[in-house]
Assembly symmetry: C3
Homo-oligomer: 208 residues x 3
Amino acid sequence: MALKLFPKGREFYELFTRSAGQVMAAANALDELVNNFVDVPAKVARIKDIEHACDKITHECFERLNKTFITPLDREDIHALITSLDDVCDAIDATAIRLQLYRVDKPTPMLKDMAALLVRCTKTVHDAVVRLDEIKNPEQILAECVQINKLENEGDQLLRKAVGDLFDTEKDAISLIKWKEIYELLEQATDRCEDMANAIETVVLKNA
Amino acid sequence: MALKLFPKGREFYELFTRSAGQVMAAANALDELVNNFVDVPAKVARIKDIEHACDKITHECFERLNKTFITPLDREDIHALITSLDDVCDAIDATAIRLQLYRVDKPTPMLKDMAALLVRCTKTVHDAVVRLDEIKNPEQILAECVQINKLENEGDQLLRKAVGDLFDTEKDAISLIKWKEIYELLEQATDRCEDMANAIETVVLKNA
Amino acid sequence: MALKLFPKGREFYELFTRSAGQVMAAANALDELVNNFVDVPAKVARIKDIEHACDKITHECFERLNKTFITPLDREDIHALITSLDDVCDAIDATAIRLQLYRVDKPTPMLKDMAALLVRCTKTVHDAVVRLDEIKNPEQILAECVQINKLENEGDQLLRKAVGDLFDTEKDAISLIKWKEIYELLEQATDRCEDMANAIETVVLKNA
């Protein structure tokens, strides 16, 4: 079942790959931030820069879509893929901003675990996106989608543990509100990776 | 305007029906939990089991989609239907987990009202799904979708009343945060039923 | 690249235009409410009336879709457009309800800024919708979509500033919870305008 999805649409493939690269860079930058919590404003600004770069790729994709008559994938699928990647970046940026905005003193071990999981998750998204070029091997891409779903489930469990611990130990309500939101936003980044997996799955199902 | 939607695609129809059955079972199990709040961990685990069963049906549906060349409905609609059902189950599971995680002492009357409403809502979803087999009677299915929308509106009003009461009477901020989230998650289950109604509506509009 | 999108489907165009008009009316009514915070229940009820009117237009659109064999746009796009407009109205209504439900004393300057931004945003949505009739000028519509995206970014920044200030100054956790939710809901209205911009973009990309 060999199929070249992007015979004349390599530009779209390249845009997806570049966007997935930015998503992975954002996750790595967040991981670095929470593991080495110094120069916070500069590191948060760095993540914002990555998010802007991702935005630019998204708009480039939309413009190209506007100029292209025959697209390698259905227009709505190209839209869904590039938008999902953008959403992951947005959630990572939103998490980083809160760490600064809420004047967090010190990342918790739980936060570090969640950031590490996100790194693995965005790496798997990137792997799947790179493979989209030739859907020779849909089973492999679908296996990566399953893997992303599994990581998202793990993320969900980490979040529940983090929030459960928070309610058990944090007696200051305002501090609890801050940490709960930070954990939830970080888990949303993983959730948006799952949306990306679903968008990939749809493309593979339609074209394989 | 008689139409057999699933002449050769009965498997999809059966997957939707089984998934809608699990959704109804989850709502009933939650209703039982809040009305008889003993053995909480076991009952929460039971809801998690139902959610896993629903997940398995969802993946079975995706795999079948992958192997089927000509589908009885558009691929993206099959995707939307099975995903919406899955989302309802997820929200019910999320609510049950919080009841245990936040060490709730006693369900409130408001929570019982919201659970009862969800039971009616998932029952209507199930009725509509069962009827999908032969769209002989689109008016009836569409009427059920309208009914689900109405129940969702009721759920919204229940939520507002519950949260309003909470702010008027609950002086402990951490307890307020817990209950607000539990109410909101339960209302989200009803919201996801509305998404399902919209997905059904789309299918009927396209095929009737 | 002149194109008449609604040669025989003027009714859909008129429904979009009417819905966008209600959305703009809701934003204006909210702006009036926060700038002249008297007769709150009556003004909140007025916004609820607008939201109901918007709902009715949405259902009229669905019914018409059900009766129309050949539609001027893809069915799913008509669905997306009318649903996005409805979602904006819902978020405005949800914000207004909280102002009453949470017994807010006095709107903050930040809330007024956010309401003013929403007025500009819904006006731009309306401008783009009106122009949908004849996509003679896709560049102009797409420019309006870009503008909506920019306003949504501004809204995001306003929200972050508002919430940051809140955590810096508000020491009462329950009051903080109320204001945080009000700000977030109002920003969600702007977010839903962005969803509308994306739906418009999709239609233009498909048809231009």
